[in-house]
């Protein structure tokens, strides 16, 4: 029925599935999740700085977004891991990767969050101020919960990109799923099929994320008319 080559490839794919999945679950997924959470906090701070009206804060935020968006993630990781040691700062692969990815998420997502905050009608700020809330209270209780709803789709885009971008961590010695795929390729000489298998696992992860996105959109949007 199947020729030798086919049988061989099927075996390779079967044997490699668990190691790949394991790398995905122990490295790719936690790396993406941790970086995304830290990145979101950074993005929030950056977005608030951008709209703070304080020139210095705005300038710093702008500069940060400009540098990070303007240069390749791989180079940023390189600088953190191979460049900083020259300045006496030695960061391990895991924290280095988390710092790099968080900085990246922080820059891109800050633009999303800024736009989302600005999209909330001014009347909401005023209504909240008029009951006597402070800036932080208004932000936390009134504005951010509403901004969250608007920003779920673009943030989901960012998260899904991040999951795949974590493969760059291999350049700084972190063996994530893609690298495991390449290892197996090195011994089996079937890059295309391995890549397809890796892509399939990414697709699984991203499908879960898309579901989560739909769930969040529905949950956060329960108070608006469809």
């Amino acid at each position: 029925m199947f020729d030798d080559r086919t049988v061989r490839i099927i075996h390779i794919l079967q044997d490699s599935f668990l190691p790949l999945l394991k790398a995905g679950i122990t490295v790719t997924v936690p790396l993406a999740i941790i970086s995304f959470i830290l990145g979101l906090l950074l993005a929030l701070a950056t977005a608030l700085a951008r709209i703070s009206g304080v020139k210095v804060l705005e300038g710093i935020a702008r500069f940060y977004v400009w540098i990070i968006r303007g240069t390749p993630l791989l180079v940023q990781l390189f600088i953190i891991f191979y460049g900083l040691p020259a300045a006496g700062i030695i960061i391990d692969a895991w924290p280095g990767a988390i710092i790099g990815f968080s900085l990246n998420v922080g820059a891109y997502a800050s633009e999303t969050i800024r736009a989302a905050i600005l999209s909330i009608p001014k009347g909401q700020w005023e209504a909240a101020y008029s009951v006597g809330m402070s800036y932080t209270q208004v932000l936390r209780r009134i504005i951010l919960p509403q901004a969250a709803r608007v920003s779920v789709p673009p943030l989901a885009n960012s998260f899904i990109s991040l999951v795949k971008d974590t493969s760059l961590a291999a350049a700084i010695t972190l063996t994530e799923m893609f690298q495991v795929g390449q290892r197996i390729t090195a011994a089996t000489y079937e890059p295309l099929w391995l890549y397809i298998e890796v892509a399939f696992i990414y697709l699984m992860f991203c499908t879960v994320l898309s579901r989560l996105q739909n769930y969040l959109e529905a949950k956060l949007g329960r108070y608006v008319i469809k």
Binding site: S130, V131, R141, Y223, I225
Partner: protein
């Protein structure tokens, strides 16, 4: 209850309020009328400090602040004065992500630091008063405009302010829905709430107001009892304006 002296407000070059003097006694209802752009909204916003006056003196209940160019008051002072007022907006501005009940509880919990239970009890009794107790668990989008505005009134009252400010509370509503909001406001006036209302509902002014103030070009042109203003306006400008309102 409210005392405003020589209130000036400019946006950039444009001077909008040009020396307003106004007093509102406790328990009284003052209606402000005037052409579009005359500064009615700006005046109300200066009373609860959503806009910071360029100069002048504002006092509400026990709290007073004087404004001058170059002098900045602390966030704390501003919030303290603001707490003495409640504001009801033309566009309602309910918090869309909270239920009706949560809308009315929110300020009580975050600002007045009431317990959840106390806040809920207060909220329910106010919602009952505006006839919306059974809508407690609805979201704002599920309510008609008139119902939303009544929730907004309950939300403002929950902070137990000394004064309620209304900025054209019914102008976004169909006549039918306006009726229910005006009724709630009338009840409040009769219970002795101090209120300042910007409105063009002349029947409300006639029935409820203790004083009608006509604002034009950032100044109070004329003030007096409703009869005085409506039947016997002193100024040509007032007469002309009133002639446009006759339905």
């Amino acid at each position: 209850m409210i005392k405003i002296k020589e209130l000036y407000k400019s946006f950039g070059e444009a001077q909008i309020l040009k020396g307003i003097n106004l007093e509102v006694a406790k328990g009284e209802t003052t209606v402000i009328i005037g052409p579009s752009g005359s500064g009615k909204t700006t005046l109300l916003r200066c009373i609860n400090l959503l806009e910071i006056p360029t100069s002048g003196f504002v006092s509400v209940a026990s709290k007073a602040l004087a404004f001058k160019e170059g002098v900045q008051h602390t966030q704390k002072d501003i919030i303290e004065l603001r707490k003495n007022t409640g504001m009801v907006f033309q566009g309602f501005h309910l918090f869309p992500h909270m239920t009706v009940l949560e809308n009315v509880m929110e300020g009580q919990i975050t600002v007045l630091k009431r317990s959840k239970d106390a806040a809920r009890e207060m909220a329910l009794s106010l919602l009952n008063k505006v006839g919306l107790k059974e809508k407690s668990l609805a979201y704002p989008y599920q309510l008609s405009g008139g119902q939303q505005q009544r929730v907004a009134i309950a939300r403002a009252m929950a902070m137990e302010p000394a004064v309620l400010l209304f900025d054209e509370p019914t102008s976004a509503l169909d006549p039918e829905l306006a009726v229910e909001v005006l009724k709630v406001m009338k009840d409040l006036a009769q219970e002795g709430m101090t209120m300042v209302v910007v409105t063009h509902k002349m029947s409300f002014a006639r029935d409820v107001a203790n004083k009608v103030v006509f604002v034009d070009g950032g100044l109070i042109l004329e003030e007096g009892s409703p009869e005085q203003i409506f039947s016997n306006p002193k100024h040509e400008r007032t007469k002309l304006f009133l002639s446009m309102l006759d339905d």
